[in-house]
């Protein structure tokens, strides 16, 4: 029975991670080998694709894409935390916004966000936010808010109210309390939420596709460029290498923090 369980686990893990594994294999083959040997095995492993990707910096500045992804995802996730943390506290402790703000934000999760993409594009074009990391970060923040608010509210509910009351007796204002007591206690939850928000923002595609052209192109969009990357056809090897570079940061984060991410996702999903 246990053997069967291991077998099922192996098949499931392989099948679910199949695209990444197959792309990883492809990224270590030379272009000529890709054309002649599509199999699992690499006849002559090479790092040429990775070297080639960096050598193409004038055309596909991969580091620039990765930096854009990193900066806008960090800013987007950070901003959503800054906005949602006080709101979550007000919601949990004072019941503020329970009637409309909370449902509104949570329900954002269920709305096809493309609805906002068109007017945002037009407004961004007017105010010079198109193709900027900040403009992208702002919308990534919107995308993240539902999840972040749910997770933070869930975490704050688990903090003991006695601490609040003790601080109040000492004459602390709401803001002192928030800053001095609640924030340090909620630190781990904030960190996990930040990581999750960062991963989601990093992986976003629709808004990155619509709102960036050059300066703020992210890794997900940049990787799709490689499918139209030369006169004679796709350079599959280079494309595979770029995709691997693009999935690396979130995947590493996921591996390092899988336990916390898993717990908070599970908690957030059921409570939200």
């Amino acid at each position: 029975m246990n053997l069967l369980r291991w077998l099922v686990f192996a098949v499931a893990a392989l099948a679910m991670n199949f695209p990444v594994i197959a792309t990883l294999v492809t990224s270590f083959k030379s272009e000529a080998e890709i054309a002649s040997n599509p199999s699992w095995w690499i006849q002559a492993p090479t790092l040429a694709n990775y070297a080639g990707v960096f050598a193409m910096a004038d055309r596909f500045d991969v580091l620039h894409y990765l930096w854009n992804s990193f900066a806008s995802a960090l800013l987007g996730a950070g901003l959503s935390l800054v906005l949602a943390f006080p709101a979550a506290f007000a919601l949990v402790r004072f019941g503020a916004g329970r009637r409309w703000l909370m449902p509104l934000v949570v329900n954002l999760r269920a709305i096809p966000l493309i609805v906002f993409a068109i007017p945002l594009y037009l407004v961004y074009a007017r105010v010079g936010l198109l193709d900027t990391k900040l403009g992208l970060a702002l919308i990534l923040c919107v995308v993240n808010l539902p999840l972040v608010l749910i997770l933070l509210a869930a975490a704050l509910r688990d903090l003991p109210v006695e601490l609040d009351e003790a601080a109040r007796v000492d004459g602390a204002s709401t803001f002192t309390l928030l800053w001095r007591i609640v924030l340090p206690l909620a630190g781990p939850a904030l960190a996990t939420t930040m990581v999750l928000g960062f991963v989601y923002a990093w992986n976003e595609f629709l808004f990155a596709l619509m709102l960036t052209t050059r300066d703020a192109v992210t890794a997900t969009v940049g990787a799709s460029f490689f499918f139209a990357a030369s006169g004679g056809g796709v350079r599959w090897g280079a494309a595979a290498a770029v995709m691997m570079l693009s999935v690396l940061p979130p995947v590493v984060l996921g591996l390092l923090l899988y336990r916390r991410i898993g717990q908070s996702l599970a908690a957030g999903a059921v409570k939200g």
Binding site: E31, A32, A35, S36, D58, R59, Y121, L122, V123, A125, R126, V127, G128, L129, L130, D131, T132, L134, G135, L209, T213, R214, D215, V217, V221, S224, F225, F227, A228, A229, S230, G231, G232, G233, V234, W236
Partner: protein
Amino acid sequence: MRTRRLLPGLALPALAAGLLLSSAAARAEVTVLGWPGGPEETALRAAADLYNGQDGLAEEDRVELIFFNRDGFWDKLQTDLAAGSGEFDLNLLATYAIGRYAPFMEPITLPDGAAELFGEKVLATMQFEGQQYGVPTDLSLHFMYFREDLIDQLLSDADWQARYQEIAQERLGKEMSPLPPEQWSWDDYQATALFFTKAVNPDSPTRYGTVLQMKNLLFNMMVWQSTARSFGGDWMNDQGEITVDSEAYRQGLELYKALYDAGASPKDSLSYEFAEANAAFGSGQVATMLQWNAAAADLNDPDKTPAVGGKVGTVAPPSGDAGRFTHIHGLGLGLNKAAQNKEGAVRFLEWLATPEAMQAYALAGGAPALSKDALQPVVEQRPDLAQLGDYAGQYGFVMTGATSAGALPVYELQAQHFTGYWAGQESLDEALSATAEGMEELLK
């Protein structure tokens, strides 16, 4: 009711937020938005380097190139232009999009030498309503690509010829013998494609006889259009009536469907575009392909495409009842109305329309259509440009209405319905009548 003032008013709060980071600061160079990912890009880079390397070039005349994704390129360019984006001074322009972008661009006056350099016919690919909107840098048309080694054997091997005749009799219902590609009609192409298809002829050396690009995508419609034209098809007649619901369009559409249904083109052809088709042909498993001229250099290069490099021949597309035709369109560069550095931009355009610039462009892999005299110094290295010029002159066509503002949506509409027919989701009648109906709206 006009709400002209409304949007700026609405945008005020957002403007306050945007103050920190406005990207609209005046730039000190000329920014050029080019066509990404192909030989046009490599060529433009070389030309820009040459220009920037000139002695005594002023700092504000320096050229900086930008490229974004091919996927959705025209959509994005359109929104940027309409929004009055000053992100670029010069932008890519194409014959099929000129009517749509002209309102956001400035007409230009080319130096006197331009007519001699390009010839009137080529300059016309960048004209709209009598005004010149750009410098024509590249000409795109279609070649029939074929495997020389396989076709040579077909023309000399008695067993193969017998089998070919059998297949033609059985599938096309007529007496046919193999012909060299430059003499092909669409029937010859079809018979050859069937002969080299494993599903039809188990002894075929290749898996497929041809590779069709049938993805729901406007460029694929341009490739297919040459077929309809050679049977006499057109978008509209002199009176402005839409004429796609015609025998010519039926023949062209049925040809593709017949080949696809017979298994003569890869199973996933309905998701194929430029890149996938080249990968299929480049694998050595395909005998013929109707494809853009831009693929020729890479496919015939043994280093880049080991399986077929050195064995690839190119001729003009096959002929129909009305003759032999290839879709042509020009790509070029024109002036954005919202350009922030117009003087510098115009100076670069004027330089681009000189023989020196265009020869450098050609040597770096671009595909300009140049007059015989202008081509002379580089024809050694780029014999294909002579072929390009010849074919454009002899077989080139533009559908009536294909430069209007509605041209791109027309191709999109055709892509939607024609791929629907090829996929068996719509009948031929449905596809054609829906296309005709939509085109009446778009080409009003």
